[in-house]
Amino acid sequence: MLLAPMSSRLNTETVGIKRDAPQARPDSSRWRNWLGVTPFFLFTFLFIVLPSAYLLVGAFRNNSTGQFTLGNFLGLFTPEILSAYWVTIRISAVTALGGGLLGFMMAYAVTVGGLPRWVRTTLLTFSGVAANFAGVPLAFAFIATLGRTGMVTVFLKTILGLDLYDQGFSLYSFWGLSFTYLYFQFPLMVLTITPALDGLKREWREAAENLGASTFQYWTRVALPILMPPILGAMILLFGNSFGAYATALSLTGGFINLVTIVIGSQIKGDILYNPGLGYALAVGMVVVMAMAMMIYFALRRRSERWLRQ
């Protein structure tokens, strides 16, 4: 009996709190969340937006007078620079196709192919490292193995009697550079295409078989059409990856191969060809090519993700 008044009071106090509506988060947590992503925005602004704007402005400015000009862009249409773009596009296309095919086959083997789990783990770990292994160390690694006096070259020559360089191969040529690029291209393909291959449902294959399809019919009518957007997307990524490569080519060929990135380097910091305005215009051209590649990639990825939504 004595408890009754106390329980009444408690009830009254409980009613006093608005329990039927969820309480809004305190405002202080909102600005803390924004504070968390501030370094990202700062980084993006300082190292992407600002340099891009600087490039764009520089590309339209005369080197000596500082006045607006289209001369830098007109300068792109010289045979040497057009050839640089053409070589860069060719090497990017070749390594995107080669790396894409090689990477796809490897990713297929460790996902759909049903190899032991440790092979998959090993390949993905290696790919994670190799996809980011470019520049001087990569060039040196290839010179040490496939250069004129490289280990593999010497081994093939002395033990098997096969002289690669007599057969027309040169590490310092278009195909030599393409071969070197494959070292970071195929791992990137492995990393980007493995999730797509994992996304292929076992039931799709079984449903196709159950409906009378052969393995070939399943791949041509179901699996490859589903995988085509991510495959093409990944290849465009590979194309862009190769298109922007600089240090590996410079270290390996010393500028003998006329790539856009090497031409930009010589225009911006060169002693003889110093023309920053042209360099900026070249870089803007690259940004345009890369942006187009990325736009195609995102469009294809969105299409694939829409399909795979269940």
Partner: protein
């Protein structure tokens, strides 16, 4: 000879026995369900019929032909998967026509068949939609139409309704049965949902730990379960400890209160027999049958059409009684003393 026969089928994965000594004859046009909990081997058995798994031992024959080792794409067996498995890059019409297309059927014939199938599942206006633009229930109908388009000899359904919400499940269940009866197609249906199995099937195969527990019509399975597993898995069951068992007089005591039961000799009894009674066999009051128990209401659980009353009859023994939620029902309150009666034929020993 039966249309589909599974003789001495077993399947092992390493040391794990997924299916053991499975024997079943299915007649043409029959609807048979494999019912059991997860891991009981029902899907593995279905996959062996489809050809996705090879039996470790035994033979599967379909229409007098040994199909045990025949590849899945040569069996002409239609299958509907739990997760629909529609091809996401194809429209509804393309999905339905896929099986005919890979068989190199003329386009005009494919179109005609697709239209027939779309009419059968009442989705004529969805022909050009992609799977992602449809609900789960619609996708599963398309999956059913796709499996039926090839005019399979047997239709296999692997828990086709388990990914759907309750209302759609009931609707589609009726739809599946209607289509099966319209086409007269031999069907094997896998489910862990007893209501699905009982409402759809001509016969039910109850499975547990890779073994067949019982095969029978839904009525037989529910009313005359032959094992404790079947009795407890299919429907609700009170399994109550007894004392003073007199097999001759068919009587015993339950929490010190006398009970009479019927016992059929074809039902095996365990070494420590217990009394089995379905909750719906109880009656509140003394108006039903010969057995009468006295107890106190412990809980009342409202289940919509049914109200489950749990009654403590002493010695810590609780019984569950299901009462129809009629407006005239005079419900006791928790703590009330009540009499619970049930007929002699309603209980049996396990």
């Amino acid at each position: 000879m039966s249309f589909l026969t599974l003789a001495n089928i077993s399947k092992t994965f390493g040391a794990t026995v997924a299916v053991a000594d499975f024997n079943l004859n299915i007649e043409k046009g029959e609807f048979v369900s494999f019912l059991g909990p997860s891991g009981c081997g029902k899907t593995t058995t279905l996959r062996m019929i489809a050809g996705f798994e090879m039996p470790s031992t035994g033979i599967i024959t379909l229409d007098d032909m040994d199909i045990t080792y025949q590849p899945p794409n040569q069996r002409n067996v239609g299958m509907v998967f739990q997760a629909y498995a529609l091809f996401p890059n194809m429209t509804v019409a393309q999905n339905i026509g896929f099986g005919l297309q890979v068989r190199k059927t003329p386009p005009a014939e494919i179109q005609k068949r697709v239209e027939e199938m779309l009419a059968l599942i009442h989705l004529e206006e969805f022909a050009s939609r992609y799977p992602y633009q449809m609900s789960g229930g619609q996708q599963q109908r398309v999956a059913l139409a796709r499996a039926l388009a090839i005019q399979p000899r047997v239709l296999l359904l692997d828990e086709p309704l388990s990914a759907l919400d309750a209302k759609i499940r009931v609707e589609l269940r009726l739809e599946i049965r209607r289509i099966q009866q319209t086409l007269g197609i031999t069907t094997v249906y896998v489910t862990h949902d007893q209501e699905e199995a009982l409402s759809l099937s001509d016969r039910v195969v109850v499975m547990s730990r890779g073994h067949m527990e019982q095969v029978g019509t839904p009525y037989e399975i529910y009313n005359y379960p032959t094992t404790e597993f079947v009795a407890s898995f299919v429907g609700q069951l009170n399994l109550l400890p007894i004392a003073n068992l007199d097999r001759t007089a068919r009587s015993c005591t339950l929490a010190g209160q006398p009970v009479h039961f019927e016992h059929s000799t074809d039902r095996p009894i365990s070494d420590t027999p217990r009394l089995a009674i379905r909750p719906e066999e109880f009656w509140l009051g003394d108006g039903q049958g010969r057995n009468l128990l006295r107890g106190r209401v412990e809980t009342l659980i409202f289940l919509g059409a049914i109200i489950r009353v749990r009654v403590d009859i002493g010695d810590g023994v609780l019984i569950s009684a299901d009462l129809f939620n009629a407006r005239s029902l005079n419900l006791p309150r928790v703590g009330d003393e009540v009499l619970v009666s049930f007929p002699v034929h309603a209980c049996w020993l396990i």
